[in-house]
Subunit: 469 residues, 2 copies
C-alpha cells in the first residue's frame, strides 16, 4: 500500500527527533533508486549536496535549532528555476550545463526555512507543451502532464515531499492532477519569479506541489510575499494559512450537534455551464460525483454546490489567454529561436511564430480582459470557491502533455487555485478537482480545500492506491 | 607598423559610410585568425552572432539610422560578465558551458548604443590572481596581466576596438598597462555590476579598455549611470566627457601666444613618497621621464608636477584593501569552495581562506578607512589629478599575473583612474602611468588624460610599435 509521506507528518517526526533529516532524505533517495530509471523525473539529482544539507540540518536540530515545518524536508525544484551551482537546463539542449550563480528568490526562501534542495525536476522545453522524457508513475504509457512533469512525478513517487513548479497555462495543476498529487497555483505575483525562466511574464506563476493541502500551505507560507527585486510581486500581506486551516477543520467530525436541518455547512459554486463536449465522460462523472459527495457525506453536514452564471466574456478567455501567452513568449524567445532554431521543439516554436502575428491592439484587448473579467468574476462568486474539474481527461498517452483547457482561465485571471486528487478513473488514473478563490486570499482557499480533503478522509473516500511500479 | 584603429577613427569612417560595420568586423576577425592561436585572448568567440549583429547594424545605417559613435564597433566582454546566450565561464571548469539567460546591464547598454558584441575574453579564475592561458602579444613569454587578461590582449592586437573589463584590485589597469592599451577604472558604483560575477562587491568595478582616451570616454558615456536594479550604483549625473575632452584639447598646439612665461599651463600632483623599493628601476625612470616631458615638451607649455604629502593613513591602504577583498571574497565563494574544491586554483583559494580568518572588527575598521581616507585624499589633491605609475614593473613572466600594488589603493578608495601607455621598457614592453581623479568627475579626469595623450602625440612622443607577432 502506497501512501506517500506528507510534509506535515515528516515535520512532526523530525521535530520530535523520531527521524533525522538525513534518514528522511535517505528514504527519498531509496525511492529514487527504485523508480527513477522508469519515471525519469529528475533533470539533475544533487545526491551529494542534499546529503550535506541534511547533515547540517540534522546537526542544527541536535543543537536545539529548529527552523520550522520545512526543517529537513527534501524538495524538488523545476528545472527552469535557478538553484545555486546546479544547472538550470530549462529543457534546452544548449543550456543543459548552465550552472546558476545564485538561488532563485523562492529557492532562497525554502532554504532559509530549512528545506533540503534535492535537485532539479524535468521540465518540458522552456515550460511549454512539447513532451518530456518523464512518464506517469501510475501508468508508464501515460504522460505525467507538463510542463512541471518531473515535479509532479517525483512527488507522486515520494522521491521528495514537495516540489516547486510553475504555471503559465496549466503547467502546475495539470501534471499534479494527472499524477495524483495536490497543487496550489497562487494569486499572480504572490511568489516572486526572480530567478525563474520567463515564458509569458504577465501569466507566469510559481506553483507548489505536495501530498496534502496542509503541506501546500506550509510551502506557501515559506515562499510567498513581496520581493523588492520583482516589482510584479504583490505587496498584500501573506495571511496565516495554517491558522486558517486549523480553524476550518477543527470542528469537523465532532460538531454535528451544532448543525441544524435545512442549513448548509459550507457553500461551493459551480459554473452553470462548464461541461462542454471537450470534457471526457469520466471527468464529468467524477466531478458530479464530488458534488454529490459534498452534499451527502455525513461529515460534510449538507454542503451546498450552487450553480453560478459566469459573465458572457468568460467565453473569450481561452482565446485571449493564448494571445497574451503567444505575444509574451515571442518577446521572450523570438530573437533566440531565430539564432538557435535547433534548440526549439515544434510546439514552442509554433507558439512564438503565432505571437509574432498578433497585433498590438489585439494584445492590449486580450490583456485588459484579464483585469475587467477578473473583477466581474470575483463579484460573481467571492467569497465562496468555484469548484471545477482540474483536467479535461485522465492522463493521455505521452505524445502530448494533455490539454490545459481547465487551467488556463485561472492563469489568465491570476486567481488562486488549489487542486485535490479525490478520485480515480476506471483504468486507475488519478482525477482531480480545482477550487478557485479570490486574489490574495489563499488563506480562505486553502482552508476550504483542507476542509474538503478532511471530509473525504473522515468519510474514507480518499483512497490512496499502491503505485503500480 | 602596427597602430591599432581607434573607436573614434572607425566611427568616423562608419558614419561617412567609408566602411561598413561588417567590413570593420571582418578586419577584426582577420586579426583574430592571425593572432589568436598564440595569444589566446578569447574564452568564447561568437563569430556567427557578431556577423549577424554587424549585418543588422549595416542595414540600419543604409536606412539612415545611426546610433552614435559605437554603431558597428566590435567589443570584447570579459568572461565574468553575462552576454545573452553565450557562456559565462568565469575561468571556472564547471561553469565553462554556463549560458547566460540575459545581458549584464553594461552589455545591454553597449548593445543599445550599437556595439557589436564579438565574444567573451579570457579571465583568470573568478577574476583573481591565478595565471590564465592568455599571453602578452608584445612578448609571448610574458603575462598579459590579469584578471582582465583577454580584454587587454585582444584590444592590443586590434581583435576588437574596445573591451569591458573589471577591477577589484588591479584587474583592469594592470593588464591594460602590460599590454600597452588605455584603460579607465571609473568611480566605484559608476557602472552597474548587475550581471557581473562578484568577487568583493564593495571593491568591484566595471572597467574599460581601448586605444585612446577619447575611446574610453565614448565607452564610458554608453555604459555609465544609475541602475535601479543595483542600489550600489551612483545616482550622480554622468557628465558629458566628450565635450570636456574637446574643450580641454582644442587649444593645444595653437595657443602658445596665450601662455605667459613663469605660468604653468596645467598642474599635476605626485605623491611626495610613492617610490619604494618595490618599484622596478625602469618604472621609476619612466615616470620621472613623463614628469620631465610634461614640464619640457613645448606643447605642454610648462605643465607643473608638484609633490603632495599623502595622509599618513595611506600607508595602511594595501593591507586594508586586502582584508576587505579577502572577507568579501570569502562571503562570495566560501560555501562553494568547500563543495567544489577542484574548481578553485591556489591563489583564490588562499584569499578565501584568509578572508575567513579576518575578524568582523578588523573588517569594519578596514572598510571605514576607505571612506575617511578617500575624503582626506580628495581634500589633498582635488581638483588636480595625481600622477602615479600604473604598474610596479613591465610585464613579468607568466607564472604570475603581476603585482597590483600600484592599483589596489584606487580600487579601495573607489576613485576614478585613467591609465595611459606612454612608454616602453628597454626590452620593448609597454609602460604606463595612471592619473587619479575625484569621485564622479570622470569628465575632469578624462579631459586631462586626453590632454596628456594629445601633448605626447603632438610632440611625436607616442611611439606605437609593430606587434612582434
Amino acid at each position: 500500500m502506497h501512501e506517500p509521506m506528507t510534509i506535515t507528518a515528516a515535520a512532526d517526526l523530525i521535530r520530535r527527533e523520531a527521524i533525522s533529516p538525513t534518514q528522511l532524505l535517505n528514504q527519498c533517495l531509496g525511492r529514487i533508486d527504485r523508480y527513477e530509471e522508469r519515471v525519469r523525473a529528475w533533470a539533475y539529482l544533487d545526491r551529494e549536496g542534499a546529503l550535506e544539507q541534511a547533515d547540517r540540518l540534522t546537526k542544527e536540530l541536535a543543537a536545539g535549532q529548529y527552523r520550522g515545518p520545512l526543517h529537513g524536508i527534501p524538495i524538488g525544484v523545476k528545472d527552469i528555476i535557478d538553484v545555486f551551482d546546479l544547472p538550470t537546463g530549462c529543457g534546452s539542449k544548449l543550456w543543459a550545463n548552465s550552472y546558476a550563480r545564485r538561488d532563485a528568490a523562492c529557492v532562497a526562501r525554502l532554504r532559509a526555512a530549512g528545506a533540503v534542495i534535492l535537485g532539479k525536476t524535468v521540465t518540458t522545453a522552456y515550460a511549454y507543451l512539447d513532451p518530456p522524457p518523464t512518464r506517469n508513475p501510475w501508468n508508464l504509457d501515460r504522460t505525467p502532464g507538463g510542463s512541471s512533469s518531473g515535479s509532479a512525478a517525483a512527488v507522486a513517487c515520494g522521491m521528495c515531499l514537495g516540489a516547486l513548479a510553475t504555471q503559465t497555462g496549466g503547467s502546475t495543476v495539470r501534471p499534479a492532477s494527472y499524477c495524483g498529487v495536490f497543487s496550489l497555483k497562487p494569486t499572480h505575483g504572490r511568489i516572486s519569479t526572480e530567478g525563474v525562466l520567463p515564458l509569458a511574464p504577465s501569466l507566469d506563476h510559481v506553483g507548489l506541489m505536495a501530498n496534502s493541502v496542509r503541506d501546500l500551505a506550509v510551502l506557501f507560507q515559506a515562499v510567498a510575499g513581496y520581493d523588492p527585486d520583482r516589482l510584479m510581486t504583490s505587496g498584500a500581506a501573506v495571511p496565516d494559512c495554517l491558522l486558517a486551516i486549523d480553524r476550518e477543520v477543527e470542528a469537523l467530525g465532532r460538531d454535528y450537534s451544532r448543525h441544524r436541518d435545512g442549513e448548509y455547512s459550507r457553500r461551493f459554486l459551480r459554473p452553470a455551464e462548464l461541461y462542454p463536449d471537450a470534457l471526457h465522460p469520466e471527468v464529468v462523472k467524477f466531478v458530479e460525483g464530488v458534488e454529490y459527495d459534498l452534499k451527502t457525506f455525513p461529515h460534510a453536514m449538507n454542503a451546498a454546490v450552487k450553480p453560478v452564471v459566469l459573465p458572457p466574456e468568460f467565453a473569450q478567455v481561452h482565446r485571449r489567454h493564448l494571445q497574451v501567452m503567444a505575444v509574451e513568449a515571442a518577446e521572450t524567445h523570438a530573437d533566440r529561436v531565430r539564432r538557435r532554431p535547433d534548440d526549439y521543439p515544434p510546439k514552442i516554436r509554433e507558439l512564438i511564430a503565432d505571437g509574432l502575428l498578433v497585433s498590438r491592439d489585439e494584445y492590449r484587448t486580450a490583456s485588459s480582459l484579464s483585469h475587467t473579467l477578473g473583477y466581474d468574476l470575483r463579484m460573481a462568486f467571492w467569497p465562496e470557491p468555484l469548484l471545477v474539474p482540474a483536467t479535461t481527461s485522465p492522463a493521455p498517452t505521452p505524445e502530448t502533455t494533455g490539454d490545459p483547457w481547465c487551467n488556463s482561465p485561472w492563469s489568465f485571471l491570476g486567481l488562486p487555485v488549489v487542486s485535490l486528487p479525490l478520485g480515480w478513473s476506471s483504468d486507475g488514473l488519478p482525477l482531480a478537482i480545482q477550487l478557485v478563490g479570490g486574489d490574495d486570499r489563499e488563506d480562505y482557499l486553502l482552508a476550504r480545500a483542507a476542509w474538503v480533503e478532511e471530509v473525504y478522509r473522515l468519510s474514507n473516500a480518499l483512497k490512496p492506491r499502491p503505485l503500480p511500479l
